[in-house]
Structures are given as structure tokens and as C-alpha cells.
């Protein structure tokens, strides 16, 4: 078993996949806590569908680097969605649902009409479930992922106290002169960046799991914001590594295996947390 694993690790694409997987798991879990607490769990889902639509557009135009188009579109949608959170005619959850199904439908429609590849349904499937794309990463994609992850980590640590305050009590933060809109914007941009990154790993349908499961698991057991954030990051990375190793050894799809590991971890945390109370 172990020998087989080390054999696989000889290949650079496997090592790339594990590096990228760990970084994505780390970043997505950090902001997951904020999103779950702000009642924005579904934003990951909505945004990933937007990213799917954007990828479809990028394929139609035959862009070599899809990121150039996908990242700005997703960031823009994230800003719009978080903005509409408070007082608009279409409430936050409805807005997310609307945008996500619309972009899913248009994305598939575009891919269908302008399809250039022979294996259309295979393309769609791998975009939705990220089945193999993590193993076909180019060097520049790995580098981009590393740079973006470091940026996300840096921003999160630097604004940690602000993010906490804005998450816990927006009204108080606003009243004491904190620029709440700015920090919400920062949160939105980071989320969008993470989602675009995570598309490679688990595909657009399963991203929410990566964002919310570690946070929910940590919230079962731990009692302070800092410990919840730290534990969810550790748990997320652990589950991602386990999921990837299992998928390499057993030939299962990477994304679904990681999410299955996250779900299992959540139930274990539920049991531990339940006994404590």
C-alpha cells in the first residue's frame, strides 16, 4: 500500500495535486467560519456555479488561460451577492439561488451550442465534480494557486480582528467607526478567489462542502473563535490529504472522496461535541 503511494509521489503531477489540495483546503476553511456564522453558507455554492458559467464562456472563446476571465467574473458576483445581503427587493438567499441556477443553465447551454471538444459531457462532468482536473494542473496554475493562497492567508491574518468584529456584530463595528463595507468587500473578494481555486480540486458542485464542513465540525467542539478557526484549518487540511491519498490508492474521484472525508469528520465531531454537553 505505502509503496504504491510512494510510487505515485514520484510523479510531479501527483505532488502538485497534493500541494494545491492542501493550500485550497487551508484557505477555504479559514473563511468558512465567517461564512457559516454570517449565514452565507450557500454563497460558495452560488459563486461556484457562476464560475462554471464563466468557464463555459472562456471555453467558447477558446481562451488559453481561463482564470483571466473566471476570476474577475466570480469576484464581481461575490461583491454583488454580499452587497445585496441586507436591504434589497430580492433577499440574500433568493439572490444566490437565482444567480447560481442562471449561470449553471447558461454555462451548460453555451457549452452545448459552441462545443469544440468531442467529449462534451466529460468536460461538463469534470467541471462540476473536478474529477481529474486536479491531476492535470500546469506549472503556472500551481504557481498561481500558491501565490493566491499566500495572499489569502496574509489578508486573513492581517485583518483577523476586523473580520471577527464584523462577523460577530456588524452594528457595533459600524458604530465604533469600523469600515464594515470595506471588510465585507475584502471577505467577498477572498471567497471568490478561493472558489475559483477550489474548482480545480473538487469541482463546482462540491465547493460548499469544503467551505462549510470544517467550520461546522470545529464549532461542534471548540468554544472560542480562534480555536474554531485553527481547528477547522487543521481538520480541513487533514481531510484533504486523506481524501487525496485514498483517491490515489483506490482510484476514486478526488473531489467526492475529500468531501466524503469531510462529512465523516463532521459526524465524528458531532459525537465528540454531543458527549461534552
Amino acid at each position: 500500500m505505502l509503496e504504491k503511494l510512494f510510487d505515485y509521489l514520484e510523479f510531479p503531477f501527483v505532488r502538485y495535486a497534493i500541494i494545491v489540495g492542501v493550500l485550497i483546503a487551508l484557505c477555504s476553511s479559514l473563511l468558512g467560519v465567517t461564512l457559516v456564522l454570517k449565514r452565507f453558507s450557500f454563497i460558495g455554492d452560488g459563486l461556484s456555479h457562476v464560475a462554471f458559467g464563466a468557464i463555459a464562456i472562456a471555453s467558447v472563446f477558446n481562451l488559453t488561460s481561463k482564470m483571466i476571465l473566471v476570476l474577475p467574473i466570480t469576484v464581481l458576483s461575490a461583491v454583488l451577492l454580499l452587497r445585496t445581503g441586507q436591504n434589497t427587493k430580492i433577499k440574500g438567499d433568493a439572490a444566490i439561488a437565482m444567480i447560481s441556477v442562471t449561470s449553471l443553465a447558461f454555462g451548460y447551454l453555451l457549452m452545448n451550442i459552441f462545443s469544440t471538444s468531442a467529449n462534451m459531457s466529460g468536460d461538463v462532468c469534470s467541471t462540476l465534480f473536478g474529477s481529474t482536473s486536479i491531476l492535470t494542473l500546469q506549472t503556472y496554475e500551481v504557481n498561481l494557486c500558491i501565490v493566491l493562497s499566500i495572499a489569502v492567508l496574509f489578508v486573513f491574518v492581517f485583518f483577523y480582528n476586523k473580520i471577527f468584529s464584523v462577523t460577530f456584530d456588524e452594528n457595533f463595528a459600524k458604530a465604533t467607526g469600523t469600515n464594515v463595507e470595506l471588510y465585507n468587500l475584502i471577505i467577498a473578494v477572498i471567497i471568490a478567489a478561493i472558489i475559483v481555486l477550489a474548482m480545480n480540486l473538487v469541482g463546482s458542485l462540491l465547493i460548499s462542502a469544503l467551505v462549510i464542513f470544517p467550520a461546522l465540525s470545529a464549532m461542534r467542539i471548540f468554544k472560542s473563535f480562534k480555536t474554531v478557526v485553527i481547528f477547522s484549518a487543521i481538520l480541513s487540511v487533514f481531510c484533504a490529504i486523506c481524501g487525496m491519498i485514498i483517491s490515489i490508492l483506490c482510484g476514486t474521484p478526488v473531489g467526492s472522496t475529500i468531501v466524503a472525508a469531510d462529512a465523516l469528520a463532521f459526524f465524528i465531531c458531532c459525537l465528540i461535541g454531543g458527549n461534552k454537553r
Binding site: L37, K38, R39, V157, F158, F159, Y160, N161, K162, F164, S165, T167, F168, D169, N171, F172, A173, K174, A175, T176, G177, T178, A218, M219, F222, K223, S224, F225, K226, V228
Partner: protein
């Protein structure tokens, strides 16, 4: 002569140029205990937002005197749904009251941590410091938020219905605590439905209705509005 902190002159408040309250004038002096009372929808929350500088006035002015700025109010907002099951320790929440002092600095410094510790002890919640906010009782949660408000400002507190949802014992406890803070020189502005408490603790009362009353508690008890409001409450 007491030092004036806030002077509100002929202010009209509301949203999108639609006034909810008009011709509002009142003054808050250092050491006052001002109750703002009124029916639901009379514009109390709008007034709070305007005092905090979050909602621009339609006309008139609210003047801040001395060295106090709108961002230096210790604000105790109404609890939100999000907070009810928030995984954060008491220490983290109280410390977050120092956020505006820390500016762009990513971490809190020693002085800010000392401020937080001082206020935790002042409100008698030192033994809860490591506890999780969601595991506390309603009264304890309000003490935590009050400690946080004191970290943001130690001269003026603005409390938005601080006893909502508390049981009678916790309510009495909260009132006593706020009263002690006031006796120690902190100016209090309290939004409330509770006229009984208003009459008991307030130094001044601002009654927002079609006809606005502002004055000392003694004058309020003699006024026509005061009598009507107190009597209707008594009948319930």
C-alpha cells in the same frame, strides 16, 4: 454648569428625505441618565442611528462637544440572531471593543488588553472570561456586551433596549449595574419601553411621539404626556 456632550437642535430624522421625527431638540450633559421612550415605530432606532452618525440628518444638527466623537460612544446594540450561537470566548468579544483604537494594526497591544481585562473585572464577569458566549445566560451575555461597549468608550454609553428578553431578576440586575456605572460618572443614554424603570432611574426623559417631550424626570411626571403614558402603561 454641567458640561454639554451632545446638543441636538431642530433635527429632522428619517430615511430618504422622509422625516419620521421633526423638530427634535435635546441636550445631553456629562453625568446625565437620559431615557428615550416612545411607542414602537416612533423613531427611536432612527434616532440611535443618527446619534451614531450612521444615518444623516434631513435638517437641523447634532453637535458633539468636547473631545467626544460619534465613534467614541459605547454602543450596546440589540442582540442579533447570529450572536445567539456564536462560538467566541467572552475575552475575544470584550477585546473586540478595542478595535477602533487599534486602527490598522493587525493585533491588539498591551494597553488594549489591559482595558479589556479591567472592564471584565468591573462588570464582575472575570470568572466567565474563557467561557463560550453561546453558553451564557441572557443576563451574562448583556454584561459581556456592556464590557465591550466600555472598551470602546468610557464616558458615554448608548444602550438600545438592554433588558429585552431578560428574566425579572436579570433585568433588575442589569438596571442596578447601569445605575452604578452612571453613579461613577458615565453618561448613559438608554432606549427603552420600560417607563417604570425610566421614572425610577432617569435624570432626563426624551419622549418621542407626535408631540416630543424633553426635560428632567420631575417635569415629565408633571407633564400631560407623561401622565397619559404612565397611566396607559398602568392599565395594561
Amino acid at each position: 454648569m454641567e458640561m454639554e456632550l451632545i446638543i441636538c437642535k431642530n433635527a429632522a430624522l428619517g430615511y430618504e428625505k422622509k422625516p419620521i421625527i421633526e423638530n427634535l431638540s435635546f441636550t445631553v450633559c456629562e453625568g446625565n441618565y437620559l431615557y428615550i421612550v416612545g411607542e414602537n415605530g416612533s423613531g427611536k432606532s432612527t434616532l440611535v442611528k443618527s446619534l451614531l452618525g450612521l444615518n444623516p440628518l434631513i435638517s437641523g444638527e447634532i453637535k458633539w462637544c468636547g473631545d467626544i466623537k460619534p465613534t467614541q460612544i459605547g454602543y450596546l446594540p440589540q442582540q442579533t440572531v447570529v450572536q445567539k450561537d456564536f462560538p467566541a470566548s467572552v475575552w475575544e468579544i470584550v477585546l473586540s471593543g478595542c478595535l477602533s483604537k487599534s486602527g490598522l494594526r493587525p493585533f491588539y497591544n498591551k494597553a488594549e488588553k489591559e482595558t479589556a481585562q479591567k472592564n471584565i473585572e468591573r462588570l464582575g464577569i472575570a470568572d466567565l472570561s474563557d467561557k463560550c458566549y453561546r453558553d451564557l445566560s441572557g443576563g451574562q451575555q448583556q454584561r459581556v456586551l456592556l464590557a465591550r461597549a466600555l472598551c470602546a468608550a468610557d464616558k458615554l454609553l448608548l444602550l438600545d433596549e438592554p433588558v429585552t428578553g431578560l428574566d425579572p431578576v436579570a433585568t433588575a440586575d442589569m438596571y442596578a449595574l447601569i445605575n452604578t456605572l452612571n453613579k461613577n460618572g458615565i453618561t448613559i443614554i438608554m432606549i427603552s419601553h420600560d417607563t417604570e424603570a425610566a421614572v425610577k432611574y432617569a435624570s432626563h426623559i426624551l419622549h418621542i411621539a407626535d408631540e416630543v417631550f424633553f426635560g428632567t424626570k420631575e417635569d415629565y411626571l408633571k407633564s400631560r404626556q407623561g401622565k397619559i403614558f404612565l397611566n396607559t402603561k398602568g392599565d395594561e
